[in-house]
Symmetry: C2
Subunit: 457 residues, 2 copies
C-alpha cells in the first residue's frame, strides 16, 4: 500500500532499536506507558474544530453497518493527544497526578501519498498532566528528555529550540495586534518563515489581508529573527526585550526559569537555544513551545516538537488539566535518517547457527541449540541437509555471526569448531567452554558495534 | 469503546512485560521481526473465501471517499497470516529462505461485544516459510518455542497437544469417508467435542446430515479420544494405529519424527502429548497441528495454536511456500490470566524519587536526578512544593520504591538519606556511594521479585 513504511527484517531491527532507545529514555525520566485503541468513536476524535484534521480522518465501518448505509460511528486516531485526553478523563479517578505518561503507537491520516508522507506512522509521545495546576518547571524537564534520547541515538549535533507563546502574544499586543484571531493569523504567517522566505512573509503582512505598517512588520521580523547562542546570550536576549506588556513579561519570566533548569538538568548549552520564530501551528499551545533540529540537516525540519497547553480535556471532563508534552514522529524520522545516511543498519538478532553435519547427530545439534538458548544466546539450528559451504553462506547472508560446527572429529575430541563469519576465521574450543567463549565474543562484538555506531540487538 | 482492552499504567507494564518475554523467546529461537501496516487493500485481505471473516472485517474510508460513496478500498487486517502472505510475496526476492519471522501487532475484528471477546487485540505470531519445501523438522521446533515462552511466563503447568491432519484425513478415508468436504464437516463436528460433549456430537454424526453407522461413529470417537501420557506412551499409541491407509501412515511417520525431535529439543515429556481430537477449525492446515492448554485451567481453552500448511501465498505468487506457524492471542490471554489470578502485577518502572526539600536547592536535586539517570536508574525529581510526608505518600501510591532525601543536614554531611518505601525503612549513605548502593538494592529487589513471581521491569 502506498503511504506506509514496510521494512525488511534487518531494517525492522534497526527501527525497533530506535524505538527501544526512545522507550528506555522515557522510562529513565519516570514516564509510565499506556496504550489506547487505534479505533475510537468518531464523535470523540472529532470534537476539535480541526478543518484539515477532519478531512484526513479515516472512518471505520464493519461490513454490517456498511450495508445499512450508516454514518461511520468509528474512526482511526490521527494523533495520540486526543486519545490521551479521553483516557485521562475516563480514568481520572484511578490516576496519580501529575500524570507522567508515554505512548508509542501508530496513528492514521488519510494524506495524499507522497515521498516521506505517511498514512500510518508511529508517534512517540510524552506528556505530564497536572490537576488544576502544573509548575512551569516541568517545561524544563522535557528538553532534558529530548537531549537524552537524541544523544543516545547518535544522529549528529542537534539543537532544542525554545520559545514561549505568552511572550509572542504579549509582543503582538504591544504592537497593537490585540485580537486573538488576528494574532493567530500573523503567527501562522510567521510560522511559514522557513518555508516561504522573509520577503514573501513581509509582503503578505503588509498586503491587503493584514495591512500592517512597515515599522510594525520590521519589529515583527526583527523579533522572530532572534536566535541565541549559548546560555548567557539567551539570558541577555531575554533582558533586552523592551516590551511593556504583562503577558510578554510572564513569558520572559517562564523562559528564564526554563532555561535555568534546563542547564541544571545537565543539557549542554550547545544543545538548546531561544528561537522566537517557533510558534507551532497548533492553536492549543499556551506557554513554552519546542522544536528540535539537526544542525547538519536543517532540511529535515523539526524531529521532536511540543509545548505547554492550558487544558487537555475540557471536552471530556470539568477538571482543569494543564499539561506539557512532546512528540517524535518515529516513522518519518527513521525514513529521514535513512535518506540522510544517518540510520544505523540493524544486525540480525541471531547470534549462532548450529551447523547440520551428520543427519544421525541431529538430536545432538538440537541439544546444543537448547543449551545455547538457555544461556541467553539467540540460536538457530540448521534443520535441512545442505553442504557446509552453503550453511556458511546462509549464515553470512542472514547476518548470523557464528556457526558452531560439530563434526565427527570434534565429537571425538569433545570440542566444537566455531566459524566467525565477520572476521572470517575459525577457532576450536572445548564443549564445556563454548558458552563462556561465545558470551565473551558476543559482548566484545557489541562493544565494537557501539563504538562504530552500528546498531546491535 | 467496548470490545477493547485499555489498561492503567501498572497493568500496562505487566502486559508489556508479557509481550517482552514472548519477543525475547522468539528472538532466542532465531526469528526476525517484521511489521506490516494495519490498513491493507480490501481485495488483498479478502481473497480467502472466509464467510465469517468477511462479515467481521472493518472497512476503512477517508472522508473524501466517504462523500463520493465509493466502495471501501481499504480494510483493517483481521489476522497476521494474510499480511504475512502478502509480505512474503511482495519481498520474496529480498528474503532468505527458510524465512523465520515473528510479528507482534494488533489485529481488528468487528465482533459483537462480549466479555473477553476483543475487536482490537494483539497477536504474536511466528512462522517458518520454506521455498518449494520445508522439512517436517521445523514442526518440532515450534513446541520448543511454546515451552520456552510459557515456562518463562510462570503461569502454571501446561501441555502442548499435538496432532496431524494427514493422520486424521487418512483415518477418515479408511472408514469410507473419502470426500474432502464431508471429512471437513465431520472434523468440524469433532472439533466441538469439548464444547458440546460426546453425546451431542455422537447424535449429530448418526443423525440426518451425516448418517454414519454406529460402528463408524464408535471408531471416530475412540480415535479422537486418544490422549498420550508421556513420551513412550505417545509412541505406543502411534504403533497401535491399525489403519491401512497411506495418508494416515504418512501422518503417523510425521508425528513420530516430531515427537522425537521435540524430546531432543529438551521439552519435558510432561509438557507435550498426542491429542487426536485437535483438528483446528481453519481449513488450510495440512500436517502437524498444535494447541496449548493450562492443566489447571482447561476452561481457558488453547492459549497458543497453529500448524503446518501447504502453501502460504498461492493468491499472490507462483512460488510454492509451505510453512508452519503458531499464534498467541496476547490480549485475550492477558485478560484470561487476570481473571484466573495468574497475571503478574506490574511494578512501576520508576525506581527513585528525588525529594524536593528546599526550593533553593532545586538545581541540586535536578543534578542528582541526572546523575542517577546517567547511571541507568529510572528517576523522577519532585518538582512541585509539597510536605515531605506527601512526597512519601506519592511515591508509595505510584509504586516508586526509593525516595532520595537531600536536606540541609545531609548536604552539610555530604550524604543522602534514602527511604525504602517497600521495607518502610530509611538509611543514609555517602553521596559518592549512592549509585552503587541503589544498584545493589534494585538488583536484589529484582531477584526477590523473580522469586516471588512478581513482574519487575
Amino acid at each position: 500500500m502506498p503511504g506506509v513504511m514496510e521494512l525488511l527484517p534487518l531494517d525492522q531491527i534497526a527501527f525497533q532499536n530506535m524505538l527501544d532507545t526512545v522507550r528506555r529514555n522515557f522510562e529513565r525520566f519516570g514516564f509510565l506507558p499506556i496504550e489506547t485503541p487505534a479505533i475510537e468513536f468518531s464523535n470523540i476524535l472529532l470534537t476539535k474544530s480541526g478543518g484539515e484534521t477532519e478531512r484526513q480522518v479515516y472512518f471505520v465501518q464493519s461490513t454490517g453497518s456498511l450495508k445499512q448505509g450508516d454514518e461511520p460511528e468509528l474512526a482511526l486516531r490521527f494523533d495520540l493527544t486526543v486519545p490521551l485526553a479521553r483516557y485521562v478523563a475516563e480514568h481520572e479517578q484511578q490516576l496519580t497526578f501529575p500524570f507522567r505518561r508515554y505512548q508509542m503507537q501508530r496513528v492514521y491520516r488519510g494524506e495524499s501519498a507522497q515521498r516521506g508522507r505517511y498514512r500510518e506512522f508511529y508517534q512517540c509521545d510524552i506528556d505530564v498532566i497536572g490537576k488544576d495546576q502544573l509548575s512551569v518547571r516541568f517545561d524544563a524537564e522535557l528538553p532534558a528528555v529530548i537531549y537524552s534520547i537524541f544523544r543516545e541515538l547518535e544522529i549528529g549535533p542537534f539543537c532544542i529550540q525554545i520559545n514561549n507563546r505568552k511572550l509572542i502574544r504579549g509582543f503582538f499586543q504591544s504592537l497593537g495586534i490585540a485580537d486573538g484571531e488576528r494574532q493567530m493569523l500573523v503567527l501562522r504567517e510567521v510560522d511559514k518563515l522557513d518555508k516561504r522566505g522573509e520577503q514573501k512573509v513581509r509582503d503578505t503582512l503588509r498586503g491587503e489581508g493584514f495591512a500592517l505598517e512597515p515599522a510594525v512588520v520590521d519589529a515583527i521580523l526583527a523579533f522572530v529573527g532572534t536566535r541565541s547562542q549559548g546560555h548567557e546570550d539567551a539570558l541577555r536576549r531575554l533582558d533586552a526585550i523592551a516590551v511593556d506588556n504583562e503577558l510578554a513579561a510572564a513569558g520572559v519570566a517562564e523562559l528564564r526559569e526554563v532555561l535555568g533548569l534546563v542547564r541544571a538538568l545537565g543539557v549542554p548549552e550547545t544543545h538548546y537555544a531561544l528561537n522566537f520564530s517557533i510558534a507551532r501551528g497548533l492553536d492549543y499551545y499556551t506557554g513554552t513551545v519546542y522544536e528540535t533540529t539537526l544542525n547538519l540537516h536543517p532540511e529535515i525540519g523539526s524531529i521532536c516538537s511540543g509545548g505547554r497547553y492550558e487544558d487537555l480535556a475540557s471536552q471530556y471532563t470539568r477538571s482543569r488539566l494543564p499539561g506539557v508534552g512532546i512528540s517524535i514522529g518515529a516513522t518519518r524520522l527513521f525514513w529521514q535518517l535513512q535518506q540522510a545516511g544517518l540510520a544505523a543498519r540493524g544486525r540480525s538478532h541471531v547470534q549462532v547457527l548450529v551447523a547440520l553435519m551428520d543427519e544421525a547427530n541431529l538430536p545432538l545439534y538440537l541439544e546444543l541449540g537448547t543449551q545455547l538458548r538457555l544461556a541467553g544466546i539467540n540460536t538457530e539450528v540448521q534443520l535441512e541437509t545442505r553442504k557446509l559451504a552453503r550453511q556458511f553462506q546462509y549464515a553470512d547472508r542472514a547476518g548470523i555471526r557464528f556457526v558452531a560446527v560439530l563434526g565427527s572429529d570434534e565429537i571425538a575430541k569433545g570440542t566444537v569448531a566455531v566459524k566467525d563469519m565477520r572476521r572470517q576465521e575459525q577457532f576450536e574450543v572445548k564443549r564445556e567452554d563454548l558458552i563462556k567463549t561465545l558470551r565473551v565474543e558476543i559482548q566484545q562484538g557489541e562493544v565494537m558495534d557501539a563504538l562504530s555506531g552500528q546498531a546491535a540487538p
